[in-house]
């Protein structure tokens, strides 16, 4: 499907004016709930970092078991920042998109205007990117307040987190468009997202995993997001490694969008 590949490669297709209208719709809805959203966006990272980073960290640091004697708070802070973005990306691509396709008729209404199925896909993907950006900036604020980063490069962990969120959102949106009910999502989160959260190097280095599981961690987007954000936050950047991590995430986003273009059209244009 070279045609599809070419269209995605053209920047105009990504920043289509019409898909921006879909983003406007989502922002209009967001105007009503932004305050409580921001509030929970601040309190969640604070609670997590205090409980895990400082609380649990007391014991971890005492054993000096992390490579290079990195404080546990500094170790998990960038990882949790990325993980939170992933969770938001995955969730927003599942139930809310299903609602727009089926229950709410949002997409049906929009398709009666000049908007296309692809505009809906890209517009809502941008929206998920926007939400992930908000959450990640708030998380960054909490990291700054707690002094949980060794390097000012931690600022760049925000775009990494957003890219990770999109790497989950794009393929899951493509998947959502193939589902007629939401029962598939429970399996997706139980056997996909939650294990990733636990075993992608978030709380402990993947080198501690059994050998046969390590390659599995390598192919998950979350591992790359966490590794990239952590290297930035700790100020231990390896240019080659970072490039590999970012490229891996970008490839998943592009593949997800390509799949979504097909599944959205198949589902919505019948």
């Amino acid at each position: 499907m070279t045609v599809i590949g070419l269209r995605i490669a053209r920047p105009g297709a990504i920043a289509s004016r019409r898909s921006l209208r879909v983003l406007e719709h989502d922002l209009l809805v967001f105007r009503r709930g932004w305050f409580s959203y921001l509030l929970s966006g601040l309190s969640q990272p604070f609670l997590y970092l205090v409980a895990m980073g400082i609380g649990l960290g007391l014991y971890v640091n005492r054993n000096g078991s992390l490579p290079g004697g990195v404080p546990y708070l500094d170790y998990i802070a960038p990882a949790l920042l990325v993980t939170q973005a992933m969770m938001a990306g995955a969730f927003e691509a599942a139930w809310p998109i299903m609602g727009k396709i089926t229950w709410d008729g949002t997409y049906e209404a929009a398709l009666n205007t000049p908007l296309s199925a692809c505009d809906l896909l890209l517009g809502d993907l941008m929206w998920i990117g926007f939400r992930a950006t908000l959450l990640s900036v708030l998380f960054l604020l909490v990291i700054a307040v707690l002094g949980a980063a060794a390097s000012p490069l931690v600022v760049l962990a925000v775009p990494v987190a957003v890219l990770t969120a999109l790497a989950f959102a794009a393929p899951i949106m493509a998947f959502t468009a193939t589902q007629s009910r939401d029962s598939g999502f429970n399996a997706l989160f139980r056997f996909g997202i939650t294990p990733l959260f636990l075993f992608s190097g978030t709380f402990f280095p993947i080198e501690k995993l059994p050998l046969f599981l390590q390659p599995l961690a390598w192919i998950t987007p979350l591992y790359h997001g966490v590794a990239a954000a952590r290297s930035l936050s700790l100020g231990q950047v390896e240019p080659v490694g970072l490039t590999v991590h970012i490229s891996a995430l970008a490839v998943v986003v592009v593949a997800g969008v390509a799949a979504g273009r097909i599944t959205f059209r198949r589902r919505l244009v019948v």
Partner: protein, 319 residues
């Protein structure tokens, strides 16, 4: 005057139009044209293929085979361009429950690339038109069915379309709400908006449509104005007779075998009543009583599109 040709060219033109979903044929080779300024209807029971036809016209459903042009354009190639000039009132309301009444119109205007200011100007005007001005800042959810329908109509007009597609616009509404809606649609027609609608209510078709096609089982079975169809397929009047049910009989009129013969040119025996199609209803009543028939109730009425449908398909519109 050769330049009159484009002016009279049909807004919608369909020949041998088909729509299949796998092995199922929803629309089976239909031909029709809709002229500018006309109110055109698809009348038929549920499942006749009306909605599938409308979705193809709305360019949201690809044509399986045959010819279809809308504004002279091919939906497969110029979908977005066609939709720019089209207003669509879908069967389900598809309103955004997370937005206010006004916001529902505003964002829809944005979908058509209107500026926020222009979208707001039109939205306020349209809320006036559908009599929802005082609900502008309310949520959509608590609105009544009729109000929601009116809001959807306002929404469909935000791009000032020259062609309005309405899929069962008054299904599920109470009589008062229906009349209010018909009144608004009639005003749109007077402004020169072309209406294309589906319905399974024959009174709606008679109220709104200049011309209609009767659809049944994916095909068009008749075409004409409501008056023409009635003249062509049924008599001017109908005599409805109801008989008390005889012992052990499934149908009320089953025991009448033969007694009605020759009473009129056509007689339809339904489970609950007998329809006698005749030019003169009163005369038929007199004849029936002369023959010694004693119906429990007698009603003489004008023929309707319901009778046309019964004649054409042997079934009622709403079953």
């Amino acid at each position: 005057m050769p330049e009159t040709a484009p002016a009279t060219a049909p807004l919608i033109h369909a020949r041998g139009l088909r729509k299949c979903f796998g092995a199922f044929t929803a629309v089976d080779g239909v031909d029709f044209d809709v002229a500018p300024g006309e109110a055109f209807g698809f009348l038929g029971p549920n499942g006749a293929g009306k909605t599938s036809t409308m979705r193809m016209i709305g360019t949201v459903s690809p044509v399986t085979s045959g010819t279809l042009t809308v504004f002279g354009l091919d939906p497969a190639r110029h979908g977005a361009k066609i939709r720019t000039r089209l207003g669509v009132v879908p069967q389900a309301d598809t309103l955004d429950n997370e937005l206010s009444v006004l916001e529902n119109l505003l964002i829809y205007g944005r979908y058509f690339d209107l500026s926020w200011a222009e979208s707001r100007r039109r939205a306020i005007e349209l809320l006036e038109f559908v009599q929802l001005t005082d609900r502008a800042n309310d949520k959509v959810e608590p609105l009544s069915g009729g109000m929601k329908r009116r809001l959807v109509i306002a929404r469909s007009l935000i791009n000032e379309p020259s062609l309005l597609l309405l899929d069962e616009p008054t299904t599920g509404l109470d009589p008062q709400a229906r009349h209010l809606l018909w009144d608004r649609l009639y005003r749109l027609k007077q402004r020169g908006v072309t209406l294309c609608l589906t319905t399974h209510y024959m009174d709606e078709a008679e109220q709104l449509c200049d011309r209609l096609v009767v659809m049944d089982r994916a095909k068009i079975v008749a075409e004409g104005s409501p008056r023409q169809l009635i003249e062509k397929y049924v008599t001017k009047e109908v005599l409805e007779l109801r008989f008390p049910r005889a012992e052990g009989e499934a149908d009320d009129s089953a025991h009448l075998d033969g007694q009605l013969d020759g009473l009129a040119e056509r007689i339809e025996q339904l489970p609950d009543r007998v329809l006698v199609y005749t030019a003169d209803g009163e005369a038929a009543v007199a004849t029936a009583f002369e023959r010694g028939l004693r119906p429990a109730s007698v009603l003489v009425r004008r023929s309707t599109l319901e009778d046309v449908f019964l004649r054409l398909t042997g079934r009622s519109l709403i079953e």
